[in-house]
Symmetry: C2
Subunit: 354 residues, 2 copies
Amino acid sequence: MEELTSLLQASCPAPRPERERIVLGHGAGGKLTAQLLEELFLPAFRNPALEQRGDQAVVGWPGGGRLALSTDSFVVTPIFFPGGDIGSLAVHGTVNDLAMGGARPLWLTAAFILEEGLAQEELRRVVGSMAEAARAAGVEIVTGDTKVVNRGKGDGVFITTAGVGWVPAGVELGPERVRPGDQILLSGTVGDHGLAILSQREGLGFEEAIVSDSAALGPLVEAMLEAGGGGVRCLRDPTRGGVATALCELAERAGVGMRVEQEAIPVREAVASACELLGIDPLFAANEGKLVAVVAAEAAERVLAAMRRQRLGAEGRRIGEVVEGRAGLVTLGTGLGGTRVLDRPWHEPLPRIC
Amino acid sequence: MEELTSLLQASCPAPRPERERIVLGHGAGGKLTAQLLEELFLPAFRNPALEQRGDQAVVGWPGGGRLALSTDSFVVTPIFFPGGDIGSLAVHGTVNDLAMGGARPLWLTAAFILEEGLAQEELRRVVGSMAEAARAAGVEIVTGDTKVVNRGKGDGVFITTAGVGWVPAGVELGPERVRPGDQILLSGTVGDHGLAILSQREGLGFEEAIVSDSAALGPLVEAMLEAGGGGVRCLRDPTRGGVATALCELAERAGVGMRVEQEAIPVREAVASACELLGIDPLFAANEGKLVAVVAAEAAERVLAAMRRQRLGAEGRRIGEVVEGRAGLVTLGTGLGGTRVLDRPWHEPLPRIC
């Protein structure tokens, strides 16, 4: 009998736990997240707005004009970190998703899932910093909800924000507008948010040196659109999965290749050191106040100059270009003639950073 | 030294844990929830739309027309229950909040917080029933987000939906429109959702007899508004805290008293039995497919007739009226001349039912 059991076990296909159970990687922004979207959410909810698959949906408002809608849940741990907290992050994350669609953020909703036992003082700090971030970004938090779950069924505080923005007439952004020859711009250093969280969490001793870049990108986007007009093709904020994942997804959706240069991508010294210590590639680490832009070649200089006049784009630069080639193939020039293919990981090594 | 410590402890004021720590009651929809809103959220986020303090915010869209916005997090346990699951509930809850403002729900966002280890098959069922509920309610789920938290830091699945709706010209609903002499209508039996959840959770043996009333109220509201026009003053869906809490809040905000008759309020037999067993008043138990309407006396017959022609209002009836008197004072006629004051509880006895 025991023999039969082991024989059966040996001949049965091995279970594929990552397909049958939710694992941390499903929320990390890499291929598992994409798979869940493709195989589970999209087939169930199928509609044209959802299939745009941007960070926001753009729909026509019956009264006139176009409206952008976005949502994100924030589950970051720890909830306080250098450069922000889960409250400011919950505002910045959603207004940035709207801004990437060229929308001016107008209103936010905020829903809180609190764990029994959370100190009210911590909640007060989080809510205060949300309010401050909303004021600075020019949006109003107009409605909300609070639920409390039993101790051990949550983790302090989770916040879900949804945002509504106005898409001005003439603004058209999307991967379908990307063409070979377009230039790829990046607004500043990479990995600051991800490594700020990880350093804090692991007690690496970099805590003071690495500060999250969490910030609202609306003014930067407006300046870029004003300077570049229709020459700005598509914008992405490289959050979970970092710049590498954002580029891979964008190249895939646009049906083009991309070539970027490693030495053009700025990384702060403390971030680079922490990455080395942890064995993490900063190109895959999260950002919460940066953007990647694909811009027509003839508009690139103008848009870059406009970026650099903004505080959040002061370190902006050209990092590469869109090329003909296999859809989704992103290559990284590593200097001295070397080249590396960037690919989205299945399991991202940085869970719960946003 | 020990004596000194105990002396100090004795003379210090006792800590007030419900003010310093989040307790389950803060999420139960009663006075603690209201306190958190008053003392923590409103002062931080202060703006005119939020101060409407309805289940939805109504704002003017720059392109024309008025837009209603609403959000709710759903943390119900168990996630599957007779009459629905967390997915259908997450759709109904938010479209109903929009409908209570007289808005036609158009779009939803959906954000998932999944616990590591959740069976993908369960998620698939939940998502399927969300999609079905959305189709039935005529709304599209246009954008979403997925996060995964470590095992033991969540509870299977939490869903946060936000909704955007169109408020037709001429529709004006709100507690400020309520007047003494107005009639109070209720669309059907009370307590079905709360007791369906509790029976399932406690294994009471009523599981088959008690089915959640979770349903989308949009068509019922449209029929009522068509029949009653400006005579419909204000609508509320009595979810957390039940009909009693909804009436108390509404009376307080409207600055009026209310008088309702217990025998006019229908309770299914199985719900009444379960309530008796658990020591719960069905007036305080949650509903997810019912509404309370305050209607001008001259329009009440018309509106009630329109309600009763709708499937979800077939058991609709008049349960009482708005009276002069202390703002927020709701009295319940208990038959044989008896009267009881309905008051919102501090700690509601039914956590995590929605």
